[in-house]
Each structure stands twice: as structure tokens, then as C-alpha cells.
Symmetry: C2
Subunit: 446 residues, 2 copies
């Protein structure tokens, strides 16, 4: 694929229009959509301008959101408005959130009144709410209908309707009272009452609920789609499994990037400039290096001890490294267990007790394995200092590693983001203090 990108980039540089057209006519839509993620915004525009209108329309509908943002920014108003009108209201609302106002306002103005109204309704929901991610194109089946009539209603459904496989069942006030699957409707006697076929209570999502929470609920209950309702329980849209997967995959991307203190990339890796790569990472590296000056101060405080027994310095990287590893094992396990709902913030004491016990066993095991080699290398007294410090540092690291994610959650921060850097800072500094205090006692110095 990367090779394909190079070919395209070369042809774009050479402005070889005929070769470009020929090449693209042989590339399937999905492959082309993937390739576009790796190109700069000018190149994306050039490619779109070379495509036949019909193909461009089809391709635009399967593009990644961020590529659409670039393309709509680059194109002039008329072609941009035509592409914009092809999208579903939820996709349009998503784009408006990301485009500058002077780009999206004219696009919205050129829509038909209906489409415009549907889009604006979604944009009224808070950012990251389920209302922003749902599709408003949903049909409800009347609870008083018979299966045959309901099926007939589904048959007439507009092609815009997001899904017809999960059908919300509504009462006279549009309130969702159950759901019935198309499968149930199709395989039932047409004379059966919808009220008898539907499943109650329906698993519904609230439009003002956080979209990540709704997406997890859809995945856990293995639904094809879930009705979305307003605060009075009235049907306002549908969240499909596709939407749920996209939301969760975006969340994973962000978490993965943030866990090492990078900002998530807006575009694919190879389409991001080295300068942007640098910018996405420098912030956290600076914060971490400032935090790390704590270790410089701790070591400075113990400089006399260090000067007296330089050999102590040899084990510093090993000790803080082990602390960091043990701490991040704890943190990862706790973050994961929180994400899948196995533990809550109120389990703090219990989790920390378990982690600290684990840390004690880990430390004792490591110390037992390390004592002899360390003694052989640096003598018994230093080996003893290292062994005692290993145990204490493992206990500290697992304690801190499990506490910080739970506290972060309690105070409303994303545990995956803040945990790793804080843990290593705290564990490094306290671990060094433990090490040198132990050394002073055991070696009788300082």
C-alpha cells in the first residue's frame, strides 16, 4: 500500500494527469479511500477533481472523517456543497464540529431545508453526546399495529432510513415501549400483534448520554442498533453497531496516543509532517522532564552518600526501572479492569490492598533471585541494600500504580492519560529516597 502511495505521489508531482486517471480507474474505492488518508490535502483535492463526478460521490461517502474535513476545506463552495449534501445528518454534524465556521455555514445554507433542519437538530446536542453520533433517520413501528402492516410500513421506508433490522415500537406519543427485530416480523404470522412480538423493556440510549458509554452498552448487549430517546423517552434517532464501533475505535486511538503523552494524530502517520509529529509529543516530554528534576534534587540531597559509596550509583537505573515496570503493570491492569467495568472507584481500598500484596510478593521474588548475583558483583552489604530497596520499591510502585488511575477517575480525569507519567515520577523519586535511606542505615554512613 505504501508503495502504491509512492507511485501516486510521484505521478502527482509530475502532474501526469493521464497516468493518474488510468491508475485510479484500476484502484477499487476502498483502496483509494485508504490511500487518500496518506496524502496531503492538496493532493486529495487534485485526485477528487480528476475523478468522474459519480465516482467522486461514491468515494466521498466512504472517506474517513478527517480526509473529508481536508477536502471540504480545499474545494470551492459548489463542489463542496454537492458532496456535503450526500452525507447523512450525523456525518454532517460531525464535520461542522471540525470545520471552521466560514466553511461550514455556507455548506449548511446550500442544503435543502429538510436536510438543513435535520443537521441543525443534531448539532444542538452537546459535543460527544449520543445525539451527535446517532442517525435521526429512524422509523418507529406502532404498538397497535399487526405484524403484516408493520412490515408494509418498513417496506415503504425511505432508503435514507439508517437501519430497518431493529425497529423501535412506539406508542401514540412517540415514546419507545419496546423493540422488534425485522427477523421477528418477517418470520411471524402477518396477523400477529406487534405488541406480542416486541421485546420489552427495550435497551434505549439517551440522546444526552456520553457517546462512549452508549457505544459500550451497544457492544455489551450485542445489538445491531439501539433506539435513541429524548428526556421524555420519545424516539429521536438510532445508534447502530457501526456507529458504536467507530466511536470505540476513535476512543482507543486517543487512549493509545495519550497513554504515552502524545496528542492523537489527526491524519494517518505518513500523512503527518515531521513537525506535527514533534508538536504532538513535545508537550508531555517537557512536563515529564520538569517532573524528572525531582529525581535530580533527591540525588543532589544524597550526593554525599553517593560520593562516599559510588557503587550505589550503579544500581540506580535498575531500581527505578523495576519500579517503573511494576507500577505500569499495576496501572495497566487497573485501567483495563475499570474500562470493562470490573472495578469501580469505590473499590479503591480493596484494589490497592491486592496490588500491594502482589507487589510484596513480586519484590520478595526479585530480591531472592537478585541477592546472590548482586553480592558477587558488589559485596554483601550493598546487595542487602539493593534487595531491601527492591522489595520496598515494588510495594510502592504497585500501590501508586493502582491508586493513581482510580483517583484520576474519581476526580474526572481520563486514567489512561494521566497515569503513566505521574506514576513514574512519584515512583522514581520515592524509590531513590528509599534506596539511599536504606543505604545509610545498612552501610552506617551519611
Amino acid at each position: 500500500m505504501a508503495a502504491e502511495v509512492d507511485v501516486l505521489t510521484d505521478l502527482l508531482r509530475e502532474n501526469d494527469i493521464d497516468a493518474l486517471k488510468a491508475r485510479m480507474s484500476h484502484t477499487p474505492d476502498r483502496s483509494l479511500a485508504r490511500l487518500l488518508r496518506q496524502l496531503g490535502r492538496h493532493d486529495v483535492r487534485t485526485i477528487f477533481q480528476l475523478l468522474p463526478a459519480e465516482r467522486a460521490d461514491g468515494l466521498f461517502q466512504i472517506l474517513d472523517g478527517e480526509v473529508r474535513v481536508d477536502l471540504l476545506t480545499e474545494l470551492s463552495q459548489a463542489p463542496a456543497a454537492r458532496l456535503f449534501a450526500l452525507l447523512d445528518p450525523d456525518d454532517r454534524a460531525w464535520l461542522c464540529q471540525r470545520l471552521p465556521k466560514d466553511v461550514w455555514l455556507p455548506l449548511l445554507d446550500r442544503l435543502t431545508p429538510d436536510s438543513r433542519e435535520a443537521t441543525e437538530r443534531l448539532m444542538a446536542y452537546p459535543q460527544d453526546s449520543t445525539g451527535r453520533a446517532m442517525s435521526p433517520h429512524v422509523i418507529g413501528v406502532d404498538v397497535d399495529q399487526l405484524a403484516g402492516a408493520a412490515l408494509e410500513r418498513v417496506r415503504q421506508a425511505s432508503p435514507r432510513t439508517e437501519t430497518i433490522y431493529m425497529l423501535p415500537v412506539i406508542d401514540g406519543h412517540d415514546v419507545v415501549v419496546g423493540v422488534v427485530s425485522l427477523r421477528r416480523l418477517v418470520t411471524s404470522d402477518p396477523q400477529a400483534a406487534v405488541a406480542d412480538l416486541m421485546k420489552t423493556p427495550a435497551v434505549v440510549m439517551r440522546a444526552d448520554q456520553h457517546q462512549e458509554e452508549a457505544a459500550r452498552a451497544v457492544r455489551e448487549a450485542q445489538l445491531i442498533a439501539a433506539p435513541v430517546v429524548d428526556e421524555s423517552g420519545r424516539l429521536v434517532g438510532v445508534l447502530t453497531v457501526d456507529d458504536a464501533m467507530r466511536i470505540l475505535s476513535d476512543v482507543d486511538d486517543e487512549d493509545a496516543a495519550r497513554s504515552t503523552g502524545s496528542s492523537p494524530l489527526r491524519r494517518s502517520y505518513l500523512a503527518t509532517s515531521v513537525f506535527d509529529l514533534m508538536r504532538s509529543r513535545i508537550g508531555w516530554l517537557l512536563i515529564l522532564i520538569i517532573a524528572a528534576t525531582l529525581t535530580v534534587n533527591v540525588l543532589d540531597y544524597f550526593e554525599d552518600t553517593l560520593a562516599e559509596v559510588v557503587t550505589l550509583a550503579l544500581f540506580v537505573p535498575l531500581l527505578i526501572g523495576t519500579g517503573g515496570n511494576a507500577g505500569s503493570q499495576s496501572a495497566t491492569m487497573v485501567v483495563r479492569a475499570m474500562a470493562v467495568g470490573d472495578i469501580q472507584t469505590r473499590d479503591l481500598r480493596r484494589v490497592v490492598r491486592r496490588e500491594v500484596s502482589t507487589g510484596l510478593m513480586l519484590g520478595l521474588t526479585l530480591a531472592a533471585f537478585g541477592l546472590l548475583p548482586a553480592a558477587w558483583f558488589a559485596g554483601w552489604s550493598i546487595a542487602l541494600v539493593v534487595a531491601v530497596s527492591l522489595v520496598t520499591i515494588c510495594v510502592l510502585a504497585t500501590g501508586v500504580g493502582s491508586t493513581i488511575p482510580l483517583l484520576a477517575r474519581r476526580f474526572g480525569f481520563d486514567p489512561a492519560v494521566v497515569s503513566a507519567p505521574f506514576i513514574s515520577t512519584v515512583v522514581d523519586a520515592t524509590g531513590l529516597i528509599v534506596y539511599f535511606v536504606t543505604a545509610r542505615i545498612v552501610l552506617g554512613i551519611g
Copy 2:
């Protein structure tokens, strides 16, 4: 939820059968299924034995795989066989893979010949193949049929059929030639030919394909389900979006655990004993601490330099910490970009060039910010040593951090697993060498 678990555990300890029964009758199935993940296997069995048979059957079908494993191991043959028979063949095949042979063989023997045959057919596929994860209960629609007749065939479908929303279209030899959605069938003229309604070419999965790859393909193409075919293209099963999400979520769990060198937990966090927690982590900690002895040796080699200028020791944790952070940023970004297909192993040179350029900019920025404070703290010459080392270490770390995941993939290892520990070992040791060599040159010692 944890509070609920405590109540249940207490009642189980007190053997208060009536209170247990009352409590469970008020707990919805999904909540009970979640609670069972957190209990030990004996408790799970006790709870199942207390439930009315019909409720137990329903509950068993929504239990997590690992809880099913525990339960079937604990129950006696007759009730275990009854529950086992309720499952779909793919779930049965999954269980057989995890149960000891003396447990699953009798269970298989007690199935009806049909069910047994269906299960054994799936078990014949290689581990982690799509064939193991698919459902064999699929109906194909004849390419020569009319829409009305095809719809009638779907109506007659057994309730076991996994999905009827995506219908594979097959020729006279069972070869998949397209797919048609139930939506298309329902909304079309009954006299239309299936051949005109179907989508070609169908996105199909191969039964011998790795299941993670198939699951990603289902997600990327936003399919409700995909037909699974044998090596001749004949329909043998269906992989639904539910299956795909379960596979990908399992993979994520494993990756998250393994990235810090833990083995993935078999059961939920609170249901795992402290000893098992310890066992899941000690292996990597030992390997990492052995690797970390490399840093001890490097420092030992430079002990004279260190003895002469003890102040050098103060910056050791800060320098290797920054190297570790910069390296893991690179590694995370590269692993992620590989996972979503943005980069391939053949992009190695290009990626490393980009990362090293990023590292150079990061290092220069950090050095620029750090020079003055370091000079104020430790004098100009040591500040210069630290600054030069920061730049070199950032370049090293980003280079190593991007190379190792790509090399790991090329040699068939999981990059998420091996990257972090290797990177920190290599970066720590080489970073220290750079630091002390620079010190010797700048300070004119050694």
C-alpha cells in the same frame, strides 16, 4: 457492582440459601452474568444449582466464555451436558479448546449426532482461524431465485440460523457469487431476480484465515456479517459483527496486558487471586531486571568517571527517563499505525528517518529549555554534557523505538508485546554510554 458482589459472597459464606434465592430473583440476567465473572468457580456452581432450570439455561447463554469453562468443569456430567447442548456450535468448539479432554469428550458424546457433527466440523479448523469463530448455521439464497421465493426461504429458516440480514447468494455448487441484504429483499418487487439485486463481488472471509484479520475486515467494511467460504469458495458459515467485536476486544485485552509484560488474566480482576496476579507478572519483571543488569555493567565501566564527578550521577534518572518516554512515544505510534494498516514493514527506512528527525527536533527543544536551569544547578560544563546527551538520547530512542516494532513484525513477533521492554533496555544502556563518553570529552577526564 462490587458492593453487590460482597453481599453475594457473604451470603454464600453464610450458606443462606433463602436470602441468596431471593436476591437472585431480583437481579436481572445481565447483571447476574457480570457478577458471576467476579466469583470463584465453586461459588458460580452453587449459584447455578440454586437457580430454577429455565433461568439457569437463559443465563448460561449470556455468560462469558471463561465463566462457562469454570462452570462446566465444576458441574456433574448430566447438568453440564444439558447446558452444553444449548450453545451454538462455535461456542461449543471454543469451549472444547479450553476444557480438559476428560471434560469435553463426554459432553460431546451426549449431544445429538447433528450437533456433534456441527461442533466437530468447526474443531477441525486450526486454532484462531475464522472457521473456529464462525457460525455454521447460515442459509444461502439461490442465484436463480426470484426475490419473493428467496424471502419465503428466509421465512422458513430455522431459528438457529445465525443471521438473516446478510444473505449469501450461491450457485449450484454452493459457491458464493454475491450477497443480498434482507433489506433489499424486503423492499424489492417479489418478481425481481436475486441475481439483479445482489451485490458483487461479495466480501467473503476464508475459513482458514486468521480470525483477527477477518474481524478487522468486517469492521472496516462496516458489515453486519460476512459469508465464510472454504478454499473452493463454497459457503461454510457466517462471521457476524458480534463475533468480530468479541475477537477484537479479546485481542485488545491481550495486547494491553502484554504491552507491560503481564499475561492476560483469564478471569475478571477481582476474581483473580493475588498469587495468580503475581504469577502473571513475575516472568517479565525477571527478564527485565536481568536485562537491566546491562546498565549496571555500563555504569561499572564508567565508575572512575563517576567517582571523579559525582554530580554526573544526578542526571542519570532524568536522562534515561526521557529516553524511555521518547522511545515509547515512537513505539506506540508505530505499533498503532501498523495495526490500522497505515504503515508496513517495508516502510522501515522511511519511518525510521521520520522518527529520527522528530527525535532530533525533540532533543534540541528539550536541550534548549534545559540548558539554563542545568547550568544554574550544576555549572556550564555539566549542563553542556547533559544537553548534548539529551539530543543524542532522543535521536537514539526514537530510532530504536520505531525500528524494534517493525523488526518484531517482520520476524513474526507481536510488536505490542516485545517492544516496550526491549526499547527501554537498549535505550537505557546506550544512553548511559553516550552520556559518559560525552562527559569524558567535555570535562576532559576519565
